[in-house]
């Protein structure tokens, strides 16, 4: 039963995509969209219960363990929220002509193809399948990023597809090297399966695994948006349609992190945990430092959020690099917290942009007066992103810090703290100016639409809940996922 579910999960969005080819009506498309996301969500909950009681499940090249489940849950929650948000967002976008009514079908089809490839990425046990699915996410999302069809969108899409495709070629090379090391020990059969490699990992040749890990780190790190390979990220996040931006930042870059974690566990076993940890620390610190100045001077709200994602991916890499159970637990919790919060921030920013007809921070003023609920949610998301207590990101950042202090990484901690404080001030300054004050003339005065609000409230509820307390079942899941990584 549970094994069958592994194959049903990626089939749900695939079949949905095919089903959507039969209609052009916006309402019907939206109904199918929300329905399919709800089914995916429900099936994942069933799978989660099976895994909690029966341990990891595997069938063929797909496998789910607690680690994959953390990412899968984040994926289905965000997909559901995006589907609900899209209903109202799309109505508005069609009205103002941002989206053409006659080409909506291909948008939905691509969205579900994108979700399907991400589901496979998360569930892949075979490292080759992982790579193929990851390149699949690049192809589908590249078209979505350029979807508006204007020059800037296509420029961003080109940069994205070129940089990430070349990036993950490095990932494939790293995969081949790890495979070569594994065949040397266990022969050809099953030498691409992560779970099979993990069984023999301590016997792998450390030299080749080390080079393989660096290739993988650069490769999937490109896709994760780690600096200095992050060049595609701000452009893509700012030019994509808002629901796509939310998925890119919320889950796609986390999928790449999952791939890195899979190889980190292999490398830790083969050449000791110190080597991959050091590599992760270097990339993590670089990301946090590189993102900071761009956040301070940013004029474009979606670019601001994009650069901010680079900082947070860096924090996750730092957590994994500090290591130990505290660091890894913190990193995994941060993946979920940031995914939920950043999607919320993109949603809130998207409705504000639609209201003012501009992405410029200086144009969006006095949001609270014209859209009180949306403005409150944007402020809450910003407070959480900045790392304010008692929101969820504060909790996971604190864990990462504690792990760093526990292992005596004083220099890294000092740099990290300075950057976080600077970003805290910069982000709240920008968002505060947008929310408070007198509304500019550009502000639309229409009533806030219900469906975007519903999507945002769903995410806000999870964000607030995870800040106050971590439910026992979720805590157990994270604990077990941490064990998968730390061993």
């Amino acid at each position: 039963m549970a094994q069958m579910l592994l194959w049903v999960l990626p089939l749900v969005p695939t079949v949905t995509a095919l089903l959507m080819l039969t209609t052009r009506d916006r309402r019907i498309l939206s109904v199918i969209d929300v329905g399919s996301s709800a089914v995916l969500f429900a099936l994942t909950l069933v799978l989660a219960r099976e895994v909690a009681t029966g341990g990891p499940q595997a069938l063929g090249v797909l496998r789910v363990d607690d680690l994959g489940l953390v990412f899968l849950l984040l994926l289905v929650i965000l997909t559901l929220a995006v589907s609900i948000y899209t209903v109202g967002w799309l109505r508005q976008a069609v009205e103002v002509g941002n989206m053409k009514a006659e080409s909506l079908r291909s948008y939905f089809v691509l969205m579900h193809a994108f979700v399907a490839t991400m589901v496979v990425t998360v569930l892949a046990d075979n490292l080759g399948v992982l790579w193929i699915a990851m390149e699949g996410t690049t192809i589908t999302s590249a078209v979505l990023i350029g979807y508006h069809g204007h020059q800037h969108g296509l420029e961003a899409a080109w940069k994205y597809i070129i940089v990430t495709t070349i990036g993950i070629s490095f990932g494939l090379f790293g995969t081949v090297l790890v495979y070569a090391a594994a065949t040397d020990v266990m022969g050809g059969a099953g030498a691409m399966s992560w779970s099979a490699i993990m069984k023999v990992a301590p016997m792998l040749d450390p030299g080749i695994v080390r080079i393989g890990f660096i290739f993988v780190m650069v490769g999937y790190g490109t896709k994760a948006g780690l600096a200095p390979m992050h060049l595609w990220l701000p452009d893509a996040h700012s030019q994509a349609p808002t629901p796509v931006s939310a998925l890119l930042s919320g889950i796609l870059i986390k999928c790449a992190l999952l791939a890195i974690i899979r190889f980190q566990t292999i490398a830790s076993a083969a050449c000791g945990p110190a080597f991959p940890a050091e590599v992760l620390l270097v990339f993590g610190l670089t990301s946090v430092v590189v993102a900071t100045p761009f956040i301070l001077v940013q004029q474009d709200i979606k670019r601001l959020l994009g650069y901010h994602s680079i900082e947070h991916v860096g924090i996750v890499a730092l957590g994994l690099g500090f290591g130990g159970s505290v660091g890894t637990y913190g990193a995994l919790l941060h993946v979920v917290n940031h995914g939920i919060t950043k999607a919320l921030a993109f949603f809130a920013a998207g409705t504000a942009i639609a209201r003012y007809g501009s992405r410029d921070i200086h144009v969006i003023r006095g949001l609270l007066a014209v859209a009180p609920i949306g403005a409150t949610l944007l402020m809450l998301a910003a407070l959480s992103l900045a790392g304010m207590a008692p929101f969820s990101i504060f909790v996971s950042e604190l864990m990462v810090l504690r792990a760093g202090i526990g292992h005596g990484h004083w220099v890294a901690i000092a740099i990290f703290l300075v950057m976080v404080v600077v970003i805290f001030a910069g982000l709240l300054h920008h968002v505060g100016a947008m929310v408070f004050g007198e509304p500019t003339a550009a502000a639309g005065r229409e009533v806030e639409a219900w469906s975007p609000l519903l999507g945002m409230l769903l995410l806000a509820a999870i964000m607030v809940l995870l800040g106050l307390t971590i439910p026992a079942s979720f805590d157990g899941l994270l604990e077990r996922a941490t064990e998968v990584v730390v061993g």
């Binding site: 350029g146 296509l154 420029e155 899409a157 597809i161 070629s169 090297l177 065949t183």
Partner: protein
């Protein structure tokens, strides 16, 4: 064939592959670069056939055949078609001088051989010098993409880069699982398709090269 012969053939093919890579970097006209990458793919297909005969691994025949059909014939043909369709007047536009790129390329090749010489025992898992050649091709492909401003040249760099990975993957003693290789090639085709559409779309709307757009900054 005995292992020494195979190793010699693979090493010779590796040298030819590096030579085609130099041709791609030195090309002053886009069509020359496309010819060179087609020749490179042909050499990869030959390497696949040689390894298939030597190891008796039948999957490698399929991979060699697919490489020949897709990467040596179809994709270069598509690129030529786009060149004709766009009527590209501007030829290759390097960001830095071609001679400087060549000097960098020499450094990359030396570094790749140095790197894999330091590996020692691992080398037995991969035939001959396939590892350093593969690393060099992959990195040089990236170099081409980073130092050229036209979309088509960037695509040629991408294909060259992927050729490097394929060469190493074939030479891993056991070969890669067939289904994975097919999946990878499928991804390459789809990516090339999407890129081609983007290039044509930008050219038809603003009459500019998509890789030359630089409005998004900061």
């Amino acid at each position: 064939m005995n292992p020494e012969t195979v190793q010699t053939i693979i090493d010779d093919l590796g040298a030819l592959l590096l030579f085609t890579m130099i041709l791609i970097i030195a090309a002053r006209q886009i069509s020359h670069a496309i010819h060179a990458v087609a020749a490179q793919s042909l050499l990869i297909a030959i390497a696949g056939a040689v390894l298939a005969t030597a190891t008796g691994n039948e999957d490698l025949w399929v991979i060699a055949g697919v490489t020949l059909a897709i990467k040596a014939i179809v994709l270069p043909w598509v690129l030529h078609w786009v060149v004709r369709r766009l009527n590209v007047r501007r030829e290759i536009e390097p960001v830095i001088a071609i001679s400087a790129t060549l000097a960098l390329a020499v450094g990359v090749v030396v570094m790749s051989f140095h790197l894999s010489a330091s590996l020692g025992p691992v080398r037995q898992a991969i035939t001959g010098n396939a590892l350093p050649v593969g690393i060099a091709l992959t990195l040089l492909g990236v170099l081409v993409m980073a130092t050229r401003k036209t979309a088509l040249t960037q695509m040629v760099g991408l294909f060259a880069s992927e050729n490097g990975i394929f060469f190493t993957a074939m030479a891993v003693t056991q070969g890669m699982p067939l289904i994975i290789e097919i999946g990878v090639i499928l991804d390459v085709i789809l990516a090339a398709l999407v890129m081609t559409i983007m290039v044509l779309r930008v050219r038809s709307t603003v009459d500019a090269d998509i890789a030359d757009l630089d409005r998004l900054r900061g």
